[in-house]
Amino acid sequence: MKLIIIDYGLGNLRSIEKALQYVGADVEISNEPSAIDRADALILPGVGAFRDAMMHFATLTRVVKDAVDEGKPLLGICLGMQMLASESEEGGMHKGIDIIPGRVIRFPASELKVPHMGWNSLIIKKNIPMLKGIENGTYVYFVHSYHISTQDKYEAALCDYGIVFPAIITNEGGNVVGTQFHPEKSGAVGLKMLRNFVENYGH
């Protein structure tokens, strides 16, 4: 299976590339629509601000949307998960790729420290293939100041940081998954999820 990590010119893709190689994936980093078209599955990484990311991503929106509409698996990570939403309020209201209906909002000002940074536990709602063998309550690594707000049916796992927010989302077809945390930085558990993605999606 050929995985393409979509490179839209921001952020550091080495960590996710290394982690996917570690679990045995055939990975390539690319921003070529033809490569995206040919790939068996896509990874949408994300570091930085929503608006910049969407600006850089703009020309790829169509090809990525078409690919997932045809059932191609896609894993969005952190900002890459947020980009799947309809819109985000980060830095003013901006449109997302709009694969999963929802809005990205900031953690409310309160006693909570923002960014939400560190290891927090998953409240698993749906046993999607990505979570095969992953126990409820498993800890994963988060770094973010915004989170997605969506409908119940798109939520596969939640996380409690004073407020409860979606940690994993999935579309109705099940081929698109987004994780607010970084599986590539979540130790053995994160690697297991990536292995699940590589082995159970896109066949």
């Binding site: 960590s15 570690y22 960014p115």
Partner: protein
């Protein structure tokens, strides 16, 4: 629930032959196994929440070795990795992140040019810019009415002065005010080291740790002085730290990370086990 983080710190330098050394530990016979990389893997297996590499020589010659160590660690250890020591340009940050680090810590360069924090945060994102603040207690409060006065364990009052160049140079900056400033400039985290405690094994400096944690919205990593696990418990409870960094108590096998976490969990501190 968000857990408190335990972070082993590897102070990496060169030995006379140009080999890699973690402070106090010569990797003479472990060269093939990968020197600091070996220690990083061990801590990862024990359940460390993150790793910090501090380049304590930070010479030009050193830099290439450090990039190599970061790359070899990032190839095998999939938890967050912070690298610090002598970082003063966005090019240096870019190279370190490309090698596989997730965050960099900036210290002296931030004090000399606060705009560097903003520039770095704008380019790379707040989440990967840690500001390291080294500070020392200053008992002279008479001439320093504008500083943040903090009550010490013995009831005396002091303010905490930021020091740079490895603690050798006082700056007259107030540690709490400085931390609040770098937070505004975009720093995503503070790595706080009390020079009064560093290397003493007497415990973390709780008054300044608490003052910073209460005065900031971003996480605070307590550092300097850990001599046993109870000190970590104190840092998280009385010091309100979000993470605790330690070096020697782990390097010399006094405790494993797992033992530290077990102890903390039994005393009601949320940790990832």
């Amino acid at each position: 629930m968000l857990t408190k983080r335990i972070i082993p710190c590897l102070d990496v330098t060169l030995d006379k032959k140009g080999g890699c050394v973690v402070k106090g530990i010569e990797f003479v016979n472990l060269r093939e196994a990968g020197d600091p990389v070996w220690l990083a893997k061990k801590y990862n297996e024990q359940g460390a929440d993150e790793l910090v590499f501090l380049d304590i020589t930070a010479s030009h010659e050193r830099r290439g070795t450090m990039i190599d160590v970061i790359e070899r660690t990032a190839d095998e250890v999939f938890i967050p990795l912070t690298v610090g020591g002598g970082i003063s340009s966005t090019d240096a940050i870019r190279n370190i992140l490309r090698a596989g680090a997730d965050k960099v810590s900036i210290n002296t360069a931030a004090v000399k040019s606060p705009d560097f924090v903003k520039e770095a945060a704008d380019i790379f994102g707040s989440q990967c810019i840690v500001t390291a603040i080294d500070c020392r207690r200053n008992p002279n409060i008479k001439d320093n009415k504008d500083k943040t006065l903090i009550e010490l364990e013995d009831g005396n009052i002091a303010w905490y002065e930021v020091v740079i160049y490895g603690g050798r140079t006082p700056t007259s900056l107030d540690a709490v005010q400085w931390a609040q400033r770098v937070e505004k400039l975009g720093s995503g985290e503070i790595l706080l080291t009390s020079m009064d405690r560093d290397g003493t094994k007497d415990g973390y400096d709780l008054p300044i740790t608490r003052a910073l944690s209460e005065g900031l919205d971003i996480p605070v990593i307590a550092s300097g002085g850990a001599g046993n696990i109870e000190h970590m418990y104190d840092a998280f409870t009385s010091g309100k730290a979000d993470a605790a960094l330690a070096a020697s108590i782990f390097h010399f096998g006094e405790y494993t990370i797992g033992q530290a976490k077990e102890y903390l969990r039994n005393r009601g501190v949320p940790v990832r086990v």
